[in-house]
Symmetry: C2
Subunit: 197 residues, 2 copies
């Protein structure tokens, strides 16, 4: 499985945003929607071996985490608006205490924070931190179930980075130019595709 | 310069679409908007050495071509909706006979067809056709001013491909998996960035 964890530092966890304003009032939920596209979209289908965790860290009702699983997801299209609609529907769901709610097939929502997510994933694979000073992905020896961790349009906070570094992640970069999170996901997917992983 | 030409086979040239419906009624203008993102967006800026030609081939008023130049463009943001708005504004412009109209800084619109675009670009660089049976981009010797040509969610038509092949393009592929046009652009940009081109 390829896991992706993206922190939406200002992304509104209460789902009270308009689909016309996902790049503004939603706290840059557009970035998260594009990361979903990069994580799953193929020309003729969906990547079934991918799972994404989007951490909504903005607003009073934060944090919440929307999880999308590629082998279960339905109604996922490549455009930002329809993806943001899936995310908003999840954020508007009532979440049972300490549990995860199903929003639509393959789309789940919980009250997990970034710290909860990485603690939970620690047993499932090996962390890979995408960071500009990392070693080049092209020489990287991918672990079996990589858990790629990225910030949205701002880096992980100091505390988030500290918690991640305590997990002993590999640190990789994708090239000489600093890129958006969704572009980084495309590049890492391509490298794994080329290796047949 | 890195040139990109994308054919929007059903993309509505008259601009009569709603921004809420760019993936539907607009004839998949969402794909074109994502290609604009891939052509220009860097983490901290815009690629000034890129120019994109989006050919709108759908509806009665077709064809039209929207050209965006990275060194001139203003008001360009990464999200699909605001990009679609720039494109729609251009499509709604009155175009002087045989000329190109300026819609907003760096955004231009003309009545050029795909054939007009490739004829016009032929003097400016060398064509590179992105196609699944091409040779691997990683071994590709990039020409000085590459003109990358891609279809949207469907391949070039037979006639379009024939016209392109008459220009003697190089043909390259990006990896073992068939990808969306905007993802292909990310991969080709990364390869050029790595070579310092």
């Amino acid at each position: 499985m390829r896991y992706f964890v993206i922190t939406g530092h200002k992304a509104l966890a209460d789902g009270s945003f308009k689909l016309d304003d996902i790049a503004g009032g939603a706290g840059r939920a557009d970035i998260l929607a594009r990361c979903v596209n990069s994580a799953f979209m193929l020309s003729h289908g969906i990547r079934k071996d991918a799972e994404i965790y989007l951490v909504f860290e903005g607003g009073d009702d934060s944090p919440k985490t929307v999880r999308i699983n590629g082998s279960l997801v339905r109604y996922l299209n490549p455009d930002e608006r329809s993806t943001a609609s899936l995310l908003r529907n999840a954020l508007l769901k009532k979440i049972p205490e300490g549990k995860e709610a199903v929003s639509s097939p393959g789309v789940f929502v919980s009250k997990m924070s970034f710290y909860d997510v990485i603690d939970m994933l620690a047993g499932k694979g090996s962390f890979v931190y995408l960071k500009e000073d990392g070693s080049d992905v092209r020489g990287f020896d991918f672990p079996e179930n990589p858990i790629f961790v990225l910030g949205d349009n701002s880096d992980l906070t100091q505390n988030e980075e500290k918690a991640l570094l305590e997990k002993g992640p590999s640190t990789i970069c994708l090239g000489p130019v600093s890129l958006h999170a969704d572009h980084c996901i495309i590049l890492v997917q391509n490298e794994m595709d080329r290796r047949g992983l």
